[in-house]
């Protein structure tokens, strides 16, 4: 009871200390900067906060400044839910939420719909949330796991000289033995059946710092490609084991969680030539220069290590913040420029995003990410990805264009899965023809 009293006093004081000002749009940052996943959390949220600082430096969104508050979740669902509950009503209410953690995203999935706060899950979370009729408040923007798996097959097919050339080939799916690693299986199975390649599934138990048996199996199977659906320490171990077993890294294609500097540098030489998926094109962009000039030069940067500007996770954070601010901008166009938007209004903005190449050029981020156009039916907006290769020093894009897999097939699977979810949860899907 004593704790609760303390809590009340502290929260009351905290609330009084930072009461809302007019013309401020609040965005909670449920991040994680300590613990085993700190590298991803600090990079991603560092990037997002840097971009939001930049937007503020340039006068905000039509004069509306962005404010945010960080809350440490330690990647732990219980802490994450607490952060969400603590911040959702603060400073006039949260405009959106992005936990960058599957566990937390699931923990607040039902809550966001109740609280009318849109949630973005960039590149993770439920793939079937792309169906906006069943999941009005969830936005797996740019690309879901399923679309990514489809893009992988498309890329491997192109590499082999056409999708039909994959017939009779052997592809190993080396995956983290968890919900995350199993997520793409339905897509890969469907492709294996359709294109006639042999899919060998090899699970790696968490955390995956011992893979001798798995790579022995791979060596015996002599696959044409290995898909590495890994996470954390498993990635560097896989690359080192591949080197030891003489499997060429050029034939390994990683998921994007296996494609950051933090994944390859620990593997050292073994990572050279390794390819992964990404939804950003590595490189430098005007928006990053602007962040360096206007944010970091003024001492307002969020990263402690400036060399991480433009790293994979940082760029993903910038990408996320670009989409957030564009959604708020879009919402302002409908509900009043220069006004603070509610979560419900921002949701409309997310659903009507149209960040095309021209807009990306204006933002200084042309080519950094695929164009995103969402609708009531499609909350993903793109489905495109690129392949990048580690040259031992930095990532380089291998595919000049954005690649997408069989969108129609994925869409069918998304709709089936979402419909099943709707039945289970007794949700009546929205009628998209009635949405404005």
């Amino acid at each position: 009871m004593k704790f609760i009293k303390q809590a009340l006093v502290v929260t009351a004081l905290a609330a009084a200390a930072c009461s809302a000002y007019a013309q401020e749009q609040f965005i909670p940052a449920i991040d994680y900067r300590v613990g085993p996943y700190a590298a991803g959390g600090s990079g991603f949220f560092g990037g997002a906060i840097d971009y939001m600082t930049l937007v503020n430096e340039k006068g905000g969104i039509n004069g509306v400044k962005l404010v945010w508050e960080e809350c440490e979740s330690e990647y732990n669902p219980t802490r994450g839910v607490e952060c969400y509950e603590r911040l959702k009503k603060k400073n006039g209410g949260a405009a959106l939420v992005e936990p960058l953690s599957t566990g937390i995203a699931y923990g607040i999935l039902d809550r966001v719909a109740q609280d009318k706060i849109p949630m973005t899950t960039l590149g993770y979370g439920r793939s079937d949330a792309a169906d906006g009729r069943v999941f009005p408040y969830v936005f797996p923007l740019i690309t879901s796991y399923w679309d990514q798996a489809a893009a992988m097959i498309k890329y491997l097919g192109d590499k082999a000289g056409g999708l039909d050339k994959l017939k009779g080939k052997k592809i190993v799916h080396l995956y983290h033995d968890s919900a995350f690693g199993k997520e793409p299986l339905p897509v890969l199975d469907a492709y294996a059946q359709k294109l006639g390649f042999e899919l060998i599934k090899i699970p790696v138990a968490h955390p995956g710092n011992e893979q001798q048996a798995q790579w022995l199996q791979i060596r015996q199977a002599k696959p044409d490609y290995v898909i590495l659906w890994g996470w954390g320490v498993m990635n560097a171990t896989a690359l080192k084991s591949a080197q030891r077993n003489g499997y060429p890294r050029e034939k390994i294609l990683g998921v994007w969680w296996a494609g950051s500097e933090e994944d390859v540098i620990p593997a050292g030489e073994a990572a050279k030539g390794y390819t992964t998926m990404t939804f950003n094109t590595p490189g430098n962009y005007p928006v990053l220069d602007e962040i360096r000039k206007k944010v970091y030069a003024a001492g307002k940067g969020n990263l402690e290590d400036k060399s991480r500007i433009g790293s994979v996770y940082h760029m993903r954070g910038v990408t996320a913040a670009i989409l957030w601010t564009e959604a708020i901008r879009k919402a302002q166009e409908k509900y009043g420029k220069g006004k603070v938007m509610t979560g419900e209004q921002v949701r409309w903005g997310f659903e009507n995003l149209n960040v095309d190449d021209a807009r990306l050029k204006a933002l200084g981020a042309f080519g950094m990410m695929p164009p995103v156009k969402t609708s009531c039916l499609d909350h993903e907006g793109s489905g495109a990805a690129k392949v990048q290769q580690w040259d031992g020093v930095k990532w380089k894009a291998v595919t000049p264009n954005w690649i997408t897999g069989d969108k129609a097939m994925i869409r069918k699977m998304v709709e089936e899965s979402a419909a099943k979810y709707a039945v289970e949860k007794k949700i009546t899907p929205r009628d998209c023809s009635k949405e404005g």
Partner: protein
């Protein structure tokens, strides 16, 4: 002065063996329960206690207390170290989910009990090694439960109703035509379940069953000599403990998170619950609650407090520093409490009670 039992005579056997033999304790506890059931909702209705308090503080606190209580029965009372708590929670959660899903018109409480019974069955199976091995070796074998259950639930699609991501979405809690939708109703639901189960546990540890557990814990050879059958006693402890953890897992899924993935019940969670027992006090019902409060709530308060300091003093700390400080302070406090009182917070409370009895005239 106030906390004195002089003049309280017990004239019957029942009065002598009641849970709270001291009148002040009875009154105090009655007040706490009344406050939890009536006072808190009243404060909420008046707008003093916010929704946040229910959903983010009280509900998880109660659920983790129940899980810690479950582990405390096994580790604290029966002396069997276990690292599989989260796995038993998972069995309870996925069990309840499947009972609700597959059987039409299944009452939710029955589903929870059946989920708990599934966990108890799994507990008995994985408790079998305890008949031959003890201590750290047993901990290592319960570790197998942890990995096996999470792997099994991910592997066999049936448990998750063939959800591609292995994630289950808990059904709504409905009872007698009433749907527990609001955070307040969910809190009361959890409070009700936890209260009943705690009362049950308290009585269990005071009767023959509990004494047999403690006898086994203190010296199993001697316990066997005086007539306790180790197999039955140990497996009983595993079953009861797993049942509690299972119900806690079901509550975790239904009344708190709503959507859970098997990975949510990982080793990390098992360790956290074990820490609750160690910090709160092994072999104490109260300790489970104190430990849960310490592990679940303290980091949150530290976080809020540091944030408050930062804003009120206008400190421009680099990002991430406050998170690190929070972790350090929390770790420091754990060490501090363990040095001050290795028997846990419950023991600290007991010492305080002794002091209070003599206050203000110590010998």
């Amino acid at each position: 002065m106030f906390y004195r039992e002089a003049g309280q005579f017990k004239s019957s056997y029942a009065a002598d063996s009641q849970i709270f033999p001291i009148r002040q304790d009875r009154i105090g506890f009655g007040l706490i329960i009344a406050f939890a059931f009536l006072g808190v909702p009243l404060l909420a209705a008046l707008g003093i206690v916010s929704n946040y308090t229910f959903t983010a503080i009280l509900t998880p606190f109660l659920i983790f207390s129940l899980a810690a209580l479950g582990l405390n029965i096994l580790t604290g009372y029966a002396g069997q170290l276990s690292l599989g708590t989260a796995a038993f929670m998972a069995v309870g959660a996925f069990g309840a989910y499947n009972f609700m899903l597959r059987i039409d018109g299944m009452p939710i409480l029955l589903a929870f009990i059946l989920g708990g019974l599934c966990a108890a069955a799994v507990g008995i199976v994985f408790g079998l090694p305890s008949l031959r091995i003890r201590g750290f070796y047993l901990a290592a074998s319960t570790l197998a439960t942890q990995f096996f259950v999470v792997w099994f639930v991910t592997k066999v699609g049936w448990f998750t109703n063939y959800s591609t991501s292995g994630v289950i979405s808990a059904q709504k809690i409905r009872m007698f035509g009433y749907t527990f939708n609001s955070s307040m109703s969910k809190y009361l639901f959890v409070l009700g379940v936890v209260s009943v189960l705690t009362l049950l546990a308290k009585n269990m540890v005071r009767t023959n069953i509990g004494r047999s557990w403690m006898a086994i814990r203190d010296m199993d050879m001697a316990a066997e000599v005086i007539g306790f059958r180790p197999m039955r006693t140990k497996l009983m402890a595993f079953a009861v403990s797993s049942f509690y953890c299972g119900v806690a897992g079901a509550l975790f899924a239904y009344a708190y998170l709503g959507t859970v993935e098997p990975e949510g019940f990982n080793l990390d969670l098992s360790f956290r619950i074990l820490f609750m027992v160690i910090i709160g006090g092994a072999g104490s019902i109260l300790g489970s609650f104190l430990g849960s409060a310490f592990i679940v709530l303290l980091p949150i308060f530290l976080n809020i407090f540091l944030l408050f300091l930062e804003t009120s003093l206008h400190l421009e700390l680099p990002s991430g520093i406050s998170s690190s400080i929070e972790l350090m302070v929390f770790g420091g406090l754990i060490i501090f409490f363990l040095i001050v009182e290795p028997h846990g917070l419950a023991r600290l409370w007991q010492i305080g009670k002794e002091k209070l009895r003599l206050w203000p005239f110590p010998h």
